[in-house]
Symmetry: C2
Subunit: 155 residues, 2 copies
């Protein structure tokens, strides 16, 4: 089945630079939906190259697979996505990106104040009250997340 308009998983892997295993994994996450041959082998459309490339870029931007999957669901499932389809999604990403940059910038400004005072002392220092809304893309205590009570107030 070589030289068809569809691609085998290996060919797609080569085209995108992804590992075969990664593509299979992405399939389970709904990022691509190949058809199967009689014998059960996956067959991808050429448009899937772009889908996956988009996934890579989106990850670069800091989006999780599930966030990306959510965005991609807005792509047409029947026809191959058009330029306009991708543009719409990209614009959405731009918004998130703006927010993240803003969050980090705000944080940096507070850090500056903090370098000035050298403190890191609660109450006085803005840093400890900084982790608001914006960039909750963070790690930190997992099951505590979202209800960190009061931080220390002493030096």
């Amino acid at each position: 089945m070589k030289g068809t308009d569809t691609l085998s998983i290996g060919e797609l892997a080569e085209r995108t630079g992804l590992a075969v295993s990664a593509i299979r994994f992405y399939e389970t996450k709904g990022l691509v939906a190949p058809v199967r041959t009689e014998s059960g082998q996956r067959r991808f459309m050429r448009a899937d190259i772009r889908r996956l490339s988009f996934v890579l870029v989106a990850q670069e931007f800091g989006f999780s697979i599930s966030e990306i999957a959510a965005q991609m669901e807005k792509l047409p499932d029947n026809r191959a996505p058009t330029k306009a389809d991708w543009t719409r999604i990209s614009r959405d990403f731009r918004k998130h990106l703006d927010a993240r940059i803003e969050g980090l910038t705000a944080l940096r400004d507070k850090l500056d104040g903090c370098i000035g005072c050298g403190c890191l002392s609660m109450k006085k220092c803005q840093l400890y009250n900084a982790g608001d809304a914006a960039n909750r893309h963070g790690r930190g205590p997992r099951y505590l997340m979202g209800d960190r009570p009061d931080l220390p107030e002493e030096l």
Copy 2:
């Protein structure tokens, strides 16, 4: 042992807003190094409050535990860190932060170009060659990371 100048793990937990389990975990990572009582219970110094608070803030900034640990090793181990000690580290963080913001901003600019062309087609689109140096804080294929070959060049 209540009312000493040292703190029990529970007291430290309350002061920092961390879970007791998290503090024990941080100890295994070398972020704090409490002494033990005769009976084996941990005793923390007041300065550990600040150490842990710093960890929280650093995580907010997007640093991993091991990165934070690396920074903290520069803190004096014998005496309690001074204002100057913290300031030095904060300045270091500021550099990293700058780099990350720059990286994201550059990425955003390329995205803008991309929205314009709606393409996401390799060669023409800068996005695919964007993931350079700066913000390799990303996810993406783990064991491939660092040697992604060539991305597709077709539409």
